[in-house]
């Protein structure tokens, strides 16, 4: 078996999601290589070479991959991936955008968002917002898989893979990069943070998120939100935790003014310890919370900040 892991990176550095994916690859077994496609991405490639257990890092460093548009990267991955039994990427928005396109080019199915490796061809994945776990088996000659990063630990960074470059280029002009508005934050990345504190509709407005930020500062936490809070414009899109937002599994998840709809639970119920602060003692969030505090958040949050 030979597994190609698609690196997630921003040219300058490797995203830790790649290391979680390497661990999933190791669980399948066999040789693990990493493909880094980008432009001016040497630093990311050097970091990838340190991932434990990786034999080779293949670097496709070309202007055509600058913004990693799937229209350019998918044909490259399909070309390089032809020689492998498995192609894996993280189930991030980048991986989700890319991998089905790769699978279709190879005329194989894709298996989304696996949380467990049962064997080289058998994987477990959640369906119905995590209310059911499907075990699926594929007989496709190349298995194209995305990996839920919270289900696999990060691979260590003590490896020393060889780095080789790949000169393949893809010319396409049908899709053009126009721009990017990235949220700037000093806080840890939501999906990788060990503490997450999320606010819901109960926060009432965006300004009140300052109450959460003060607690987050004390805990070194990332900030998340329910869909209702994002839809209402309290916080940006990329804060959304849930079935159709980000999946998180920190050591500590604090849900504040969030009722606990199944779509929200799907994104956080694998957290190690869950705390809920809600003024309604019947709120469904309390059914999954290890510690529930029935209280008005506008009173509880300043107290919490004080007590930490």
């Amino acid at each position: 078996m030979s597994i190609l892991v698609i690196a997630e990176h921003d040219n300058g550095s490797l995203k830790t999601a790649t290391l979680n994916t390497v661990t999933a690859a190791a669980a399948i077994g066999g040789d693990v290589d990493i493909l880094v496609a980008g432009y001016g991405c040497d630093a990311a490639a050097q970091e990838a070479a340190k991932a434990a257990g990786v034999g080779k890092v293949i670097v496709a460093d070309n202007a055509c991959y600058e913004h990693q548009l799937p229209e350019a990267v998918a044909p490259l991955v399909a070309e390089v991936g032809k020689g492998y039994t498995h192609i894996l990427a993280a189930a991030t928005t980048t991986g989700k955008n890319l991998m089905p396109r790769v699978a279709a080019l190879l005329d194989v199915d894709q298996i989304s968002d696996i949380i467990e490796v049962k064997g080289e061809d058998t994987f477990v994945r959640p369906i119905y917002a995590g209310n059911a776990m499907a075990t699926v088996q594929t007989s496709d000659p190349i298995k194209v898989v995305t990996v839920r990063t919270t289900a696999f630990a990060e691979a260590a960074k003590d490896g020393s893979a060889t780095v080789e470059s790949n000169a393949h280029t893809v010319e396409q002009s049908k899709a053009q990069f126009v721009g990017e508005q990235l949220s700037k934050s000093e806080r840890p990345e939501l999906t990788a943070a060990s503490v997450v504190i999320s606010g819901g509709r109960g926060m009432q407005n965006g300004e009140n998120f300052a109450l959460l930020e003060k607690v987050a500062d004390k805990l070194g936490a990332a900030i998340g939100a329910s869909r209702a809070a994002v839809d209402a414009g309290f916080v940006p899109n990329d804060y959304q935790v849930g079935q159709t937002g980000k999946i998180v599994a920190p050591d500590l998840y604090i849900a504040v003014g969030i009722s606990g709809a199944i779509q929200h639970l799907a994104g956080m119920k694998d957290s190690k310890v869950i705390v809920a602060i809600n003024k309604d003692e019947e709120a469904p969030i309390f059914q999954v919370a290890d510690y529930g505090l029935v209280a008005d958040l506008f009173k509880a949050l300043p107290e919490l900040e004080e007590a930490l």
């Binding site: 119905y128 007989s139 990235l182 500590l252 510690y291």
Partner: protein
């Protein structure tokens, strides 16, 4: 411009599904079914394009059982012009769905395909990207904004770190995210009118598409349950538990 929207019949988002005791799947007997919420957003976007004069015709297609006609009727009541049901009793994997959609795009001469980013039942998030690959056209996935300009479409996408904007040549495939629009409700007169709009029924074989798959679902199991914990009386008690019992802070 001709727009195709994909409509999937799924269990209603607020139904709590249960796994069957024999582990073969989930029990959907008598469960309320609906249009996948992301597909509803796709229909709304297509109709707005038509209202803005950018689209001439909106075609709603569903691949599924005969009962999926209900969801097509809803799409017609919302303003789609006509429907296509590709009838199948077996569950198709995303690649097969994409192959069927490709055949329809080619048959109908479609300029823009709008799909949901994911279905809330199988949560695959694949069909749009696969269709774009099969058609060799660009893709704008997880769209929160889409604007047709000079024969192209500019799409702003929700990505993990924020937003990204791309300009795509048409034909193209766009998949919808939650913030693209707020779907309207169908009015009673429009529901009545929709009854007269045409729905063609075809089979995958009629389109010359092979829908087999190499994926087998071996079993479906319920998730590990979390047991409800304790209620604490005060913030001080909470902090004490987190420090001394859970040891997470």
């Amino acid at each position: 411009m001709k727009v195709l929207v994909g409509i999937k019949r799924v269990v209603d988002a607020y139904v709590r599904v249960r796994v069957k005791s024999d582990g073969t799947g989930v029990d959907l007997t008598n469960a309320k079914m609906a249009i996948n919420p992301f597909c509803e957003i796709a229909v709304e976007e297509a109709i707005r394009l038509k209202e803005a004069g950018a689209a001439d015709e909106v075609i709603a297609v569903s691949i599924g059982p005969a009962a999926a006609q209900e969801q097509i009727r809803t799409a017609l009541a919302l303003g789609s012009d006509r429907g296509i049901l590709v009838q199948t009793e077996e569950a198709l994997e995303p690649l097969a769905v994409a192959k069927v959609l490709k055949a329809i795009v080619e048959k109908e001469g479609i300029d823009l395909v709008i799909l949901g980013k994911q279905s809330i039942d199988t949560d695959n998030n694949q069909v749009g990207q696969m269709l774009a690959a099969l058609l060799n056209v660009p893709q704008g996935t997880f769209a929160c904004k889409a604007e047709v300009k000079d024969g192209k479409i500019e799409v702003t996408r929700e990505i993990d770190g924020g937003e990204q904007t791309v300009m795509l040549d048409l034909p193209a495939v766009v998949t919808t995210d939650l913030r693209l629009n707020e779907p309207r409700y169908a009015s009673l007169p429009n529901i009545m009118k929709a009854k007269k709009k045409p729905i063609d029924t075809l089979s995958a074989a009629d389109l010359g598409v092979e829908v087999g798959s190499n994926i087998k679902t071996l079993s479906v199991a319920p998730p590990a349950e979390r047991s409800a914990g304790v209620k604490v009386e005060s913030v001080a008690a909470l902090v004490d538990k987190l420090k001394n019992e859970a040891k997470v802070i």
